[in-house]
């Protein structure tokens, strides 16, 4: 019988996911997360394989459906830390509807999106965040659709924590991951720009490094209009850092009277 083994990471050499994986492990430790109380939730894609390569509880579900599963896990046991690791196709494409409604719910889950602006698992088609003009085996005349702007949408819909980082800048990424893990205001979005050396020849590691600019101390992340300006900045300059913080929005799990005392799963008497 033919045997295939793939119990170690199946990513391409140079994939940004290796850096994200190593940084996540350090960030979880730095933030003091108890691995037994941690659930990593993912959908489908190269990014969605990440939970297999670290120590945690894992719910790897369907393409685009990490958010509904994560939402319910949090509602069923809000004592757990629920962290989604997912790609741009999974989160902003197939799961776009859930993305909008998770923000509306302000469910207290952390959402780390590995945004490489391309479909890796299916070998190089456009993703919702691909730049206009990028040619692919399907978009043979170049991408004609305007890229989806996850940060601007998240800000407009009131996401209490919106940040962006770069996979290959591990120090910055770890700082952002720890800040996100420590944030306790509800839905937490960290968009991680990630080079894909196999399929995205346009937005390479070099291309990102030349453009990213850490957001300065003069930015007031509670200023929605200033945050939107940063979120809409793309091209020669790409701001990275904490773009937006909104205080005072209650989390869904704090609003439901049934969850007022102990987590739902602990209320079960059977």
């Amino acid at each position: 019988m033919r045997r295939l083994h793939s119990e170690s990471p199946t990513w391409c050499p140079g994939c940004g996911n290796f850096s994200i994986l190593r940084t996540l492990d350090s960030a979880l430790d730095e933030a003091g997360i108890d691995r037994h109380r941690l659930v990593l939730v993912s959908g489908i894609g190269q990014a969605a394989k990440l939970p297999h390569y670290t120590r945690a509880n894992v719910f790897n579900g369907l393409h685009g459906r990490a958010l509904p599963a994560a939402t319910a896990i949090k509602l069923a046991n809000h004592g757990l830390e629920v962290l989604i690791t997912s790609g741009d196709g999974d989160m902003y494409g197939e799961g776009g509807n859930h993305f909008i409604h998770a923000i509306r719910r302000n469910i207290g889950v952390k959402c780390f999106v590995h945004n490489n602006q391309v479909y890796g698992l299916t070998k190089g088609q456009a993703s919702p965040t691909s730049d206009c003009g990028m040619q692919t085996p399907i978009q043979t005349h170049g991408v004609m659709l305007r890229p989806f702007n996850p940060l601007a949408i998240a800000i407009v819909e009131g996401t209490p924590f919106v940040a962006r980082s770069l996979a290959v800048d591990r120090a910055h990424l770890q700082e952002m991951m720890v800040a996100a893990l420590k944030h306790d205001g509800g839905f937490t979005l960290l968009d991680i720009l990630q080079p894909c050396p196999s399929f995205n020849k346009r937005n390479t590691a070099k291309w990102y490094r030349e453009r990213v600019r850490p957001i300065g101390d003069d930015h007031d992340p509670t200023d929605m209009h200033a945050a939107l300006d940063l979120a809409m900045t793309w091209g020669d300059e790409i701001p990275i850092g904490i773009i937006y913080r909104k205080k005072g929005r209650p989390k869904l799990e704090d609003l439901n009277p049934v969850l007022a005392n102990v987590p739902l799963v602990e209320q079960y008497a059977g």
């Binding site: 119990e7 579900g61 509904p68 909008i100 739902l264």
Partner: protein, 554 residues
Amino acid sequence: MDLNIRIAGEAGQGIKTTGHLLVDAFASMGLWVFSTQSYMSRIRGGLNWQDVRIADYPITSSREDADLLVALTAEALATLAEEVTEGGLILYDGNEAEGAVAIPFTDTAKQRGKAIMANSVAGGAVFTVLGYPLDPLTGYLDEVFQAKGEEVVQTNRDLVHRGAELASEHAGALQAPEPAGAPRTVYDGMEATALSAAVSGVKFVCAYPMTPSTGVFTWLAQHDEQYGIVVEQAEDEIAAVNMACGATYAGVPTLVTTSGGGLALMSEGISLAGMHELPVVIYLAQRPGPATGLPTRTGQGDLLFALRTGHGEFPRAIFAPGSPRQCHELMRRALETAHRWQTPVIFMTDQYLADLSLNMEPLDGSVRPIDRCIATDAGEGYRRYEITESGVSPRAIPGGDAFVVLDSDEHDETGHITENLEIAQAMMDKRLRKIDGMIAEALPPELYRDDDGAETLLICWGSTYLPCREAVDILRMRGISAAMLHFAQVWPLDRDAVRERIGSRGRVVCVEGNAWGQLAMILREQQLLGDAELLTRYDGLPLTAAEIADRVEG
């Protein structure tokens, strides 16, 4: 004897309110009551009606004709007058109508109170033409309106008496059944199901609203704090079923409610529950399709779809109760089956059964949470998908000493992704092995009136149970040797038990609310059915006992 009352008019005219009033008042007298609704898909306008059938013996089916029509609009009068029996009576809400007793219910109510109180006037008139005393009616109104104050109570009482006065010329015009000591408690299929879910320990309910499933969703939402249930309205059915996977993974019994179109969107998620081995239970209230179909009508057209939905091969169970009592029993069994075998279960009902109400002995409302079959001793080295003889692996939940790892990809015993094809086959075999155990505890189909080995066997499933049973009674009264075989569990089947009960008959008739005879197709595929006739109905209305009996007699 029995008598059928039909209240008909436009949506928004309070047909349901009048229907409820009559049902509860009749039940409180000790009459047997059986009530069904028929309504068109709009909020106002159109022609809707509710039937309230009463008898001095237990009744289990609606009738196509009516002895008393209460027509609230000219259209209701014009359309439904021809379905009134000879010697029957029509009450019309107005000042004049040919062939009907005109009583201005609404105007009378407006003079004294509000238009909405017209149902009290109508109630008084109905009770009068049936020759019943008014006390049960006013007593019921007293109870209902107590909270609204003495004035409202008194106004309604007065309007009942006014209605009686206006109908006094026709007092006792219809011969009505005598009270027969029937139970006072009234349930509909929806409430019996929802109550069962709540007391069996459902803690999480997620759904996208879809008629006719919304009643259970609503009932649970309205009792969330009482039973400790988190209710989440999902953005779509895909979200709902994936939420159910997440919630069951985290350890809480979960229910998803939907109808056929929603189930179609859930297809991939049901397959995920099969792969993840999660106890996801889906309440599927059918309406006629394809596509949007007839949103407010009834049908049994989704059996094959429920059996096949979800790609790949994995175990599932399908329950199809036939009465409100069975709804109550089988919702619990559906939850238990899902948890014992860690696999999706579909509970099938339809608009007819969800909405039909009848009186019966009170259901058990005590909270008795089911056993979730959770391994509490899992620790380091735990394997979520340990290969076992039964196919069932110990199920731990996240948050304890064990890491619980689930993957929608094929996985090894620890739950991690694998492309090792030997492991893949072993995992398929493990999951499919669960079917053997599920068959061993499957409910055998119920035989009714077969003590003498009936010549003719009516085979049915789900909501055709009550009409079919009554059809057997009618056929036997007509001297035809008939019995019924009803499937309350449609999948998996204990083939020996089914074969033995079908036996050898002169004639087998499959009675179904769909065009193809979908249970018959399943039974044929399982080589359990030889020559059989189909008796089907798929115009959006339920089969009635009389119709089944007449068509069987030919």
